[in-house]
């Protein structure tokens, strides 16, 4: 599936819920099933700054596609990053770089995130694009 399709799928899923509580519960569920980063990759380099909770993010490239792995000590944060991983894992670097991320707003999450967390989210997206840019360079060499 293309990034845009996955995003639409996520928006549809979230639209099924009426209350923020159900959205949060779903997010927590997702968090529990995040593609876990291996312990040796839980390095300081892989920590994303700007969150009250710690977030580690690692990426590998396989056959021109990027795979993401992450973890956090806070479960809601894990849920959020799992949405990002679902969107971007298995995609081509170029597509990641060019993607647009308005689905976060569309699922009505932004208003339930603290600025602190929103800031953390922006940093996660930055880090994901940063990985993609790196792999893109490597592929094109």
């Amino acid at each position: 599936m293309e990034i845009i399709e996955i995003q639409n799928e996520i928006v549809d899923e979230f639209n099924m819920f009426d209350s923020w509580m159900e959205k949060y519960e779903y997010l927590i569920d997702l968090g529990k099933n995040i593609p876990k980063i291996s312990n040796e990759n839980k390095t300081d380099d892989n920590i994303i700054k700007g969150c009250q909770s710690k977030v580690w993010l690692h990426a590998t490239e396989d056959n021109g596609k990027v795979n993401f792995f992450a973890d956090s000590d806070a479960i809601i944060t894990k849920g959020i990053i799992s949405l990002l991983i679902r969107t971007f894992s298995g995609q081509k670097p170029q597509d990641i770089i060019e993607s647009n991320l308005d689905f976060i707003d569309k699922i009505g999450l932004r208003q339930h995130l603290s600025p602190n967390r929103a800031n953390g989210l922006n940093n996660m997206i930055k880090k994901i694009k940063f990985y993609a840019i790196g792999f893109n360079k490597k592929i094109n060499e």
């Binding site: 519960e25 927590i28 009250q52 909770s53 000590d73 806070a74 809601i76 967390r117």
Partner: protein, 404 residues
């Protein structure tokens, strides 16, 4: 005894709704809410007497100056200082501490020592760290125990003729511990060390008498005792303030200026260059009158009851661990529940209208001590009530269910 339910009506923000729920504001240690009289005094200032102070010859300037200087007198009386020269208005506790730390820049030298406590807010650590770097004076730390109390035995051992300054908060913002500052001051004075007490979390909750304490510097922020943002109050002993070099240069703090030489004005102007937060300072005086009308003794009694009730109720929740269990505490409870990240709980109950703070509360050394990333902190003001605590407890239980 005041009727604390009636008091709530003075605070318009307590009517706010969050996500369809009534706001329950339990983040008072970060900033307290503002009663109508304080809000009105700000409007009144801009509608009737806004003007730059001190230098003017005209009517408005005279009125504004009178109100501003009268506010200085209110704080002098409230803190029981000796003279209005001992009361300096700044933009906040952080600014006040930096002003004093800078005052020691010429007198400290390598070999000297400054003593800080492990319970401090970053605002009472970083300025001294910067001073220590600039002067070569060493920082020593009074450690705390498991209950969140300072170890006075070790403090005594740290003191010596090398000690030049000691800075400790009166009440810890992260744990609520009330520190035995009278003892701390007395012991420091035996070695002729100066003591700065950070009273940001004390002044809102009980009565402080700088003369009785014999403290050298005492600082607090108006926004923590129902006043506006952007105003700090700094008390300093006149004799010592007179000796300190000025901090910032500008208008009003000088006597004469030529390009060759500038002579500085007397206290308190020496430390108040530029146009101050005039409206804010005057409104801070109104806030002070407001809490004095209720009576700090009444406030203390009532808040102690809230604290005891909330502590008891919290302990009934499975897995709750409270950080800071000194016998001497005010209005703050820091805790975690099981392994759940404080941030997760904070986010969930926020959506239920309950405002608490999570994180390190600008006191990382305390978090390091307990080896935790942070805590959930609830903190009371006198407008909080028992019903709100019940709702908090209920929301916490729901959050735990969702998150485990």
């Amino acid at each position: 005894m005041k009727d604390f339910e009636l008091i709530r009506k003075d605070f318009p923000i307590l009517e706010a709704k969050v996500n369809g729920h009534h706001l329950i504001y339990l983040d008072n240690a970060a900033t307290s809410q503002t009663p109508n009289c304080v809000i009105d005094s700000i409007s009144d200032y801009y509608k009737n007497l806004n003007s730059n102070i001190h230098r003017g010859v005209h009517f408005l300037s005279q009125k504004a100056t009178e109100k501003y200087e009268n506010t200085r007198k209110k704080f002098k009386d409230h803190l029981n200082a000796n003279s209005t020269k001992e009361i300096i208005f700044t933009s906040g506790t952080t600014h006040s501490i930096n002003l004093i730390a800078n005052g020691f820049i010429n007198s400290l030298k390598p070999g000297d020592e400054i003593i800080v406590s492990q319970l401090e807010h970053h605002s009472n650590i970083v300025p001294w760290q910067m001073l220590s770097e600039k002067t070569g004076a060493k920082m020593k730390v009074i450690p705390m125990n498991n209950l969140g109390e300072l170890d006075i035995k070790i403090y005594e051992k740290l003191l010596s003729n090398k000690t030049k300054v000691v800075f400790v908060n009166h009440v810890s913002n992260a744990l609520g511990t009330v520190n035995p500052i009278k003892k701390i001051i007395e012991k420091a004075h035996r070695y002729d060390a100066k003591v700065l007490i950070d009273g940001a979390q004390a002044v809102p909750h009980f009565h402080v008498d700088v003369t009785e304490l014999d403290v050298d510097f005492y600082v607090c922020s108006a926004h923590k005792f129902c006043g506006p943002t952007g105003v700090g109050i700094l008390y300093g002993k006149q004799r010592i303030l007179e000796e300190l070099p000025p901090y910032q240069g500008g208008g009003e703090m000088i006597d004469e200026v030529t390009f060759e030489k500038t002579t500085y004005a007397d206290l308190p102007n020496k430390f108040e260059p530029g146009t101050p937060n005039i409206a804010g300072v005057i409104a801070s005086g109104v806030a002070l009158d407001y809490i004095n009308d209720i009576g700090l003794d009444n406030i203390k009694k009532y808040e102690d009851k809230l604290l005891a009730y909330a502590t008891k109720k919290l302990k009934e929740i499975n897995g709750v661990k409270i950080y800071g269990e000194s016998e001497n505490k005010t209005s703050v409870i820091s805790f975690n529940i099981g392994d759940i990240h404080p941030y997760d709980i904070g986010s969930v109950i926020d959506n239920m209208g309950v405002a608490v703070r999570t994180g390190h509360h600008c006191a990382q050394p305390i978090m390091d001590y307990f080896k935790i990333p942070g805590t959930i902190r609830i903190s009371f003001c006198f407008y909080n009530n028992f019903e709100e605590i019940d709702i908090l407890i209920d929301s916490l239980k729901k959050a735990v269910r969702m998150l485990s």
